[in-house]
Amino acid sequence: MLEVSRLSKRFGGLVATNDVSFTIQEGSISALIGPNGAGKTTIFAQISGFHRPDAGDIRFNGRSLVGLTPEKICLLGIARTFQIVQPFAGLNVRENIAVGAHLRRAGRRAALEHAEAIAHRVGLGPQLDKPAAALTVAGRKRLELAKALATDPKLLLLDEVMAGLNPAEIDEIIPIIRGIRQSGVTILLIEHVMRAVMNLSDHAWVLNNGALIASGTPSQIAANPQVIEAYLGHGAAARMQAQIQEARHA
């Protein structure tokens, strides 16, 4: 469904994305993981048209997205959320979601009805009339999800929708995401909450310093020494291995 091939992006001297390629299957949940600053959000920004890649191609159902505006890409069926949530602060929850719903619904009534349905799906039903600015962190994350979902995407890019949530709130949002997939939406998520990644995704890619260093099922990834090094620093895998050996000898 989505083919990213040899994608590269530099900001001045910093290589944010370095020759990254991956393919996402329709109907799957995939995860993009990696330490802070690895370049995950930059990849999202390129897929969704906010940044233009320096090299490489992104194809969505065979059509190249490079050079298209974010609004055009959204119209093609890719919706994204923002890591730093971006609510329309002056509007209430219903109106916020309706902006997304209007993408494929010209009528106000149809858009508002769709917005309400989406709100109930992500658990924002009781807060429909609240100003977006009055929501809690968890509420804002859900609103971010709801707005994107309201555009009826085929592919949903979720940028850390669980960051800042407590374990109970994470437990609430996991089945919501699974439900979205069941309704036929393909999902690519950036996530730090490993429990959610393990729990949700069929496939994961690990990004470090702008380049992909590993790929596989979540459990394969978790056992990969390169991944552990990326997260915990150079030599960490060897040290861990040594500690395990020591523990065995003792």
């Binding site: 974010p70 609004e71 919706a79 329309f88 109106e95 997304g100 209007h102 106000r108």
Partner: protein, 326 residues
């Protein structure tokens, strides 16, 4: 629905005013308040709903005023025709300005300054050419009668402006319940977030500035018939730009009735000022300036925001109660 009822009520209440009020002074007062409400409605569309604060709405007002005056004087065009063409011309100037300014991504304070600079450019141009009357200005011939949009009684202008303000109220009501309005407000609140939801900010803002320009231009056309005179300073000078933004800011940005409320409040205050200090030049503008500063400092949501303040206090109280429990 409540808003629609309020719009109809507003128009119905004001409709018989010229029949009930005998004083020419008060009819003129109401007419002028409606005129500035209309100009403010134009600004509110772009500034209130679209979040693009123009400091140079005189650009559109003046273009409309000159357009109708020139067509009437040099080409003998009917004033109603001039009214329509004025709106179209000012709309085109709006579209042109918007295309340039939004294409190059100017926002916030930069947008404000560039619109002001455009108005200044037009002021200098109007000052320099024969067919605009240069510095002397243009006198439109007096031809009383409905056919030339110059009414024999004061009531005529009052009803004309009431109709225009009413039409604008309905337009704003539609805006609040339409996809275009939803997109415009989304762009105002957060442009990137709007783009991520498939909203084209350039297209949206361009439509808003075109419509806003057209309305302000038509206000200019009415102004010319009302005062029968236009010169570069009235048309493109800063006074009209300030008035256009002050009215919705005082009443309430991005609300249906904000400009109307603001225009009536502003002119009531100006009237009181005149009674208290006499008709000295500049003094009413001093008052306007003070109002603008006070509004931004203490009531950034306008008079309509007063309702929201009490709501804010309520939630504050709840917060403290919640805090006591914890």
């Amino acid at each position: 629905m409540r808003n629609l009822t309020a719009i109809i009520l507003f128009c119905l209440v004001l409709l018989p005013a010229p029949l009930l009020i005998q004083s020419d002074f008060w009819i003129t007062w109401l007419t002028l308040a409606l005129f500035y409400a209309y100009l403010g409605q134009a600004w509110n569309l772009l500034g209130g709903y679209g979040g693009q604060f123009s400091f140079g709405h005189a650009l559109f007002f003046g273009t409309g005023a000159y357009c109708t005056a020139i067509l009437q004087i040099h080409f003998g065009l009917n004033a109603w025709g001039g009214f329509v063409l004025a709106a179209i011309a000012a709309g085109l100037v709006g579209a042109g300005t918007g295309w340039l300014v939004f294409r190059y991504g100017l926002r916030g304070s930069y947008f404000a300054l560039v619109t002001l600079a455009f108005a200044e450019v037009f002021r200098i141009l109007a000052n320099s050419f024969e067919f605009t009357g240069a510095g002397v200005g243009l006198l439109v011939p007096l031809q009383p009668g409905f056919a030339q949009m110059q009414f024999e009684t004061k009531a005529g202008f009052f009803w004309l402006l009431l109709a225009l303000v009413g039409a604008c109220l309905l337009f704003t009501y539609w805006l609040q319940n339409a996809r275009f309005g939803a997109r415009l407000m989304a762009v105002r609140e957060n442009e990137d977030a709007a783009r991520a939801l498939g909203v084209d900010p350039f297209d949206t803002k361009l439509r808003a500035i075109t419509a806003s320009g057209a309305i302000a231009g038509s206000a200019g056309a009415v102004y010319v018939q009302l005062f029968l005179y236009i010169d570069p300073n009235i048309a493109y000078g800063p006074a009209m730009s300030v008035e256009a933004l002050l009215v919705p800011i005082i009443g309430g940005l991005g609300t249906i009735f904000g400009p109307v409320l603001g225009a009536f409040a502003l002119h009531a205050i100006a009237e009181i000022g005149r009674l208290a200090f006499g008709d000295a030049p500049g003094l009413n503008l001093v008052l306007y300036g003070i109002l603008l500063v006070l509004m931004v400092l203490f009531l950034p949501n306008g008079l309509f925001g007063l309702g929201k303040v009490s709501f804010g206090l309520g939630s504050l109280r709840r917060l403290f109660k919640g805090g006591a429990h914890a």
